[in-house]
Symmetry: C2
Subunit: 324 residues, 2 copies
């Protein structure tokens, strides 16, 4: 069954707790970093949860490991498959590699070389497609028809959403009294997991989704009250080009406080600023939260704000502030 078929597979908080135990041996409990400089600049107390320090470089190992290690042995041996703009692809390959099962991923040929290399390093097989949602889904249908592999959607899968929810579970244990949580939004997997966990554990925390203005379909969906999907938006935040689906829309429409957007220039500035001040390597997508905080200081000033740094798989030969 492909992901454009409506689904009622909404994961529960018990699924998050089960995922937390299941994936523990396969993921890092990532550290939370702070910067006096960024606190002074924004007027907020910022806490950065560094999911870029996962072995495969992104929070997506959480959802991928939950899906892969939750399969029965019979299902697992046929293998898993997915389509992804990058980090889910290599995270699923990483998870499948740890279980020793096959993994096939459909990726746009325009995906960063660093991500393609890493998928292959973990043992995943890549099938390339055009950089549009329509091409990706068509190519993927062929792959699944041929192999019979278990489809693990990058974000609309309830196992994946429950896995991503473990990030906020840890974050909430590591930092007391958070008042706001900001994470990037693309397809909505991380935001949905965040909503699922926080609405159960800390429902007073406001959840802000941060999105590139150039790919603001979630923002427009949020304002319109129904899913609006763009085909192939262009943004430097390559992890955030994909549209919401019914399961992530459920969480976004019910639990997100607001969606804020940032321009390409604001994203690149915030990215370079974070590299300089936090001294971490992270992707453009991860800079969207800081970009929206800098742009909307009044909304965050004086608050204890959690920021989820989602991934760190960057092509170090093509840094955006150097090619501009």
């Amino acid at each position: 069954m492909l992901d454009d078929t409506p689904s009622t597979d909404i994961p529960t908080f018990d699924d998050v707790l089960a995922a937390h135990e299941r994936i523990k041996p396969h993921i890092n409990r990532t550290p939370v970093l702070r910067s006096d400089y960024l606190d002074r600049l924004t007027g907020a107390e910022l806490f950065f949860k560094c999911e870029n320090f996962q072995e495969a470089g992104a929070f997506k190992v959480r959802g991928a490991c939950n899906a892969v290690f939750g399969l029965s042995d019979d299902m697992a041996k046929i293998g898993v498959a997915t389509h992804s703009s990058g980090n889910h692809a290599l995270s699923l390959s990483y998870a499948a590699g740890r279980r020793g099962i096959p993994c096939t991923v459909v990726m746009p040929h325009s995906a960063p070389q660093a991500k393609k290399d890493q998928v292959r390093y973990y043992g995943g097989e890549i099938v390339e497609c055009e950089p549009s949602t329509s091409s990706r889904e068509a190519t993927f249908a062929e792959v699944v028809a041929k192999s019979g592999a278990e489809f693990v959607h990058p974000y609309n899968d309830p196992r994946v959403i429950a896995g991503q929810g473990t990030c906020s579970l840890e974050f909430n244990e590591q930092v007391e009294d958070l008042e706001m949580m900001v994470a990037p939004i693309g397809g909505g997997g991380m935001i949905s997991g965040t909503c699922l966990t926080l609405s159960n554990r800390a429902p007073h925390i406001k959840i802000i989704a941060a999105e590139p203005k150039n790919a603001d379909d979630a923002y427009r969906s949020f304002k319109a009250g129904h899913i609006i999907a763009d085909d192939a938006p262009q943004t430097i935040a390559d992890g955030l080009k994909v549209p919401l689906k019914e399961n992530t829309w459920h969480f976004v429409s019910n639990f997100v406080t607001d969606i804020m957007t940032a321009t390409e220039e604001e994203i690149i500035d915030a990215m370079k600023l974070t590299w300089k001040r936090l001294r971490i390597v992270m992707e453009p997508s991860c800079a969207v939260p800081l970009a929206v905080i800098l742009k909307n200081k009044d909304a965050f000033a004086g608050k204890r704000v959690g920021v989820i740094v989602t991934g760190g798989n960057v092509d170090l030969d093509k840094l955006p502030w150097l090619s501009n």
Copy 2:
């Protein structure tokens, strides 16, 4: 009294314990990161202590804070001064800024712009000199004669060595059963603090100093049995150009197991590899340990190895693998 006068100011382990309490409010207990990829590549179990995540971006805040916060109020109000290739300069400025006292630093005009900017951000005043040890010391003598400020040497000062020793104290608490410890060596401040702490707390741990081949005066000193100092060696590892002095030589000659060197190309390769796999921003100096581990795999294979990542103040517009 300038630092070329022989001294018998060798700090004790009690000084390290006192420093640990004194500086706690002013520094970060930095996290330790791991990488399956780098473990597989080297055959060792590597633990990276990320001192680049200190607010001022380097382990040198430890020694600087120990010196500044150990001053009497009368001494403190006149201020502190130093000469430094960069990170000690901004660390001393940071420490002085936190205590609200003046700080003057003599820096080579060739020091990275990012470091100069940060010294000024913390409130330090910069006096520029030529990029040689002789010019630096002459310029500094003038500064001290004029201001009467308390000299805090970047590494030969016992307060500084005791402060740097707190890094291994934390590291040894964070990771059990380390068998080897590798840190870069320039003037020898970090290595001396490491020797001081480990010789008391875990004397079985082998201490390896890692040095650029282009500035291998510590290596040659170690082999010759006396200090050999070069004037103005050229290496990309700009934090490691300075020579040993009598207090650091005491620790190097008595407690270091071996000194290993790496070429400029090996340093740059290891730097890029660490950015890619650990996803941290760190200086070329910090890559020398991984470079020597990769070059001498047999010495480290199968061992639990601590690596001290010393600093992360990089000019992001001038990355060495992009200018080559």
